[in-house]
Amino acid sequence: MNRSELNKRLVSLMLVGPLFLFLVLFFAVPLVSMMKSAVSDPVAAEVLPATARAVSGWDRSSPPSDEMKAALVADLRQIGEDQLFGDLVRRLNSAKSGFRTLMPKTRAAALEAGGNIDLVALDRRWADPSYWQAVTVATSSTITDRNLLAAVDLQRDASNTIVALPPDASANKAIMIRTFVMSLTVTLACVLIGLPFAMITASVDGWKRQLLLGAVLLPLWTSLLVRTAAWFILLQDRGPINSMLTYLGIISAPLPLIFNRTGVIIAMTHVLLPFMVLPIFSVLIGIPKNLMPAAASLGAHPVRAFLSVLLPLSLRGVVSGALLVFMSALGYYITPALIGGAKDQMISSVIAYYATGAANWGMAGALGLVLLAATMILYAIYLRLSSDREARP
């Protein structure tokens, strides 16, 4: 590499530097904090501060010292909320099973007696170093897989093995399946409308093509919120669609279009359709115009020529468009939140609920991680496909 080349590279790096730093700070760091909140569980260290200090000097094998026991009793007396105590027990039990019975017993004894109590006399288990090792682990390490497991409806049972959550407590898997099914439905609807539309657009030129492209670009440029608001107004029980159908005598009672699945799918298809049409269109206009006549001149029936020439060639655009639509649909929040009912909320709504409603950052982070991973995998596939296309002549 010669000097001027090196210089040029240096200049390039200096130019991208500010934006890179900005995005590391305000894009990467937030995502990392979200991931950290998914796997961090500082409850033991926070609830048992004196114990944490006491066990930090312990060699983890000798019999537990009196100082450690006293610290634990003192900490247990400090815990005011039952909720917090429950979190602590769960955390300790995930490190070693047995705490689920041991802790409530110890806490009750600690609260009853005023002064120091003999833990070993209360329960032999407190003489066992392995229980203290668990306390040490829980107070020193703040990493947990509980939220990640709960995000996919799993938990650790009393013996610390991973099992499924009871059916009444498991809602996340159902929401993920729903998100997947809704996104897939929207993607299919977009393919069914977008592919023929892109083909028509590519087959005409002049003002006709301008008109067709304009019809795709106008909604694309219009605010997402406005488009959702438009559908909200249109789909109402007494909105334009229902009044028109009633006026025409097609229906007698208004069709339920809003706050249900139908409405969300219609609105999301409308919002995402441009992302399907444009990639297919850009592939189609790259196909030489004489291919179809060539197929015809070789005796292929138009249907056959379409099926074996044009359709396979446009498939690349369909795959790109489908990935783009599906990926965007997975993370949709505004449209389902406004147009859907309680049974049409997708994973983003649940994340928003955990974060802003329940202030359960661990669960918000864990579900966010699942959504982020799914999106990134799809995006990587999309990038791979589009760079393949660039590489081809």
Binding site: P219, T222, R227, W231, F232, L338, G368, L371, L372
Partner: protein, 262 residues
């Protein structure tokens, strides 16, 4: 063959109708006299526009949107343009290729995921419920549009123009100011417009990061639709749609004149 032609016209027409009709159908509702968003419109009036521009919450949210939108536009345009200048080579080194992917990533990451992360991080640094925080959040998602738009234009600039300027003795900074930036201007302008539009339309990050004092127009529209729908929504949508069409026309014209000038 005629059947195919008819099918094409019918299908094309139906799809255009599906794409455009919803946006047109709500325009007249902005001028309703009633408190309901229904057809037929009993009497026409501009009362909801008056409401939009004079009622305290709406007026304030419009001002907030303009302040935050302007801040975002300036920050995103400066950062995005400088960043794009570093990525202008057609053959990027592996490091720069990765950086380019990173620059475009905020377009892809689901807004709610980013919102949760930003709320967590911004709370730590006292950025939640501040204008600066909202501007930063909006800039993160607006900056890819600037990078894409500026890149599209500067990759088309003939490098010999800059080499010619340099060979005539212009310092690198002069070349940048007198040659490169003026040629990149159409891309910078459309990038800035996209950045402003992104900020104007952004709801999710605003929900997570902004406080009641930073309520933007989009945020206000979102909660109005959610809580008590009023025709002020249609009026706001009217302003948005007409604004979009005007901006599209302006951008198109500026591109046309540029094309004829070169």
């Amino acid at each position: 063959m005629n059947v195919l032609r008819v099918a094409k016209i019918v299908f094309g027409g139906a799809t255009i109708f599906f794409l455009v009709a919803p946006l047109i159908a709500i325009l007249p509702l902005a001028f309703t006299d009633s408190v309901f968003l229904n057809y037929p419109i009993p009497r026409y009036s501009t009362r909801w526009f008056v409401e939009l521009f004079t009622a305290g919450v709406w007026q304030r949210s419009i001002v907030n949107s303009l302040v935050i939108g302007s801040g975002t536009t300036v920050l995103a345009t400066v950062l995005g343009t400088v960043g794009a200048l570093g990525l202008r080579d057609r053959q990027l080194s592996p490091v720069l290729a990765i950086i380019k992917t990173i620059f475009l990533l905020p377009m892809v990451v689901p807004a709610v995921v980013l919102g949760v992360g930003m709320q967590l991080m911004f709370a730590r640094y006292g950025l939640t419920n501040t204008y600066l925080g909202v501007i930063i959040a909006h800039t993160v998602v607006a900056v890819p549009f600037v990078v894409v738009n500026v890149l599209a234009v500067i990759q088309g600039i003939d490098r010999r123009l800059e080499q010619a300027a340099a060979s005539l003795g212009a310092a690198p900074i002069t070349v940048l100011r007198q040659v490169t930036l003026p040629l990149a201007l159409p891309g910078i302008i459309s990038g800035a417009v996209f950045a402003f539009a992104t900020s104007l339309d952004e709801v999710v990050l605003t929900l997570f990061v902004a406080g009641p004092n930073q309520r933007t127009l989009a945020r206000q529209m979102f909660s109005t639709i959610r809580e008590n729908i009023s025709p002020a929504i249609a009026a706001a949508a009217f302003v948005f749609i007409v604004g979009t069409i005007l901006i599209a026309i302006v951008l198109n014209l500026s591109r046309r004149t540029k094309a004829t000038a070169v």
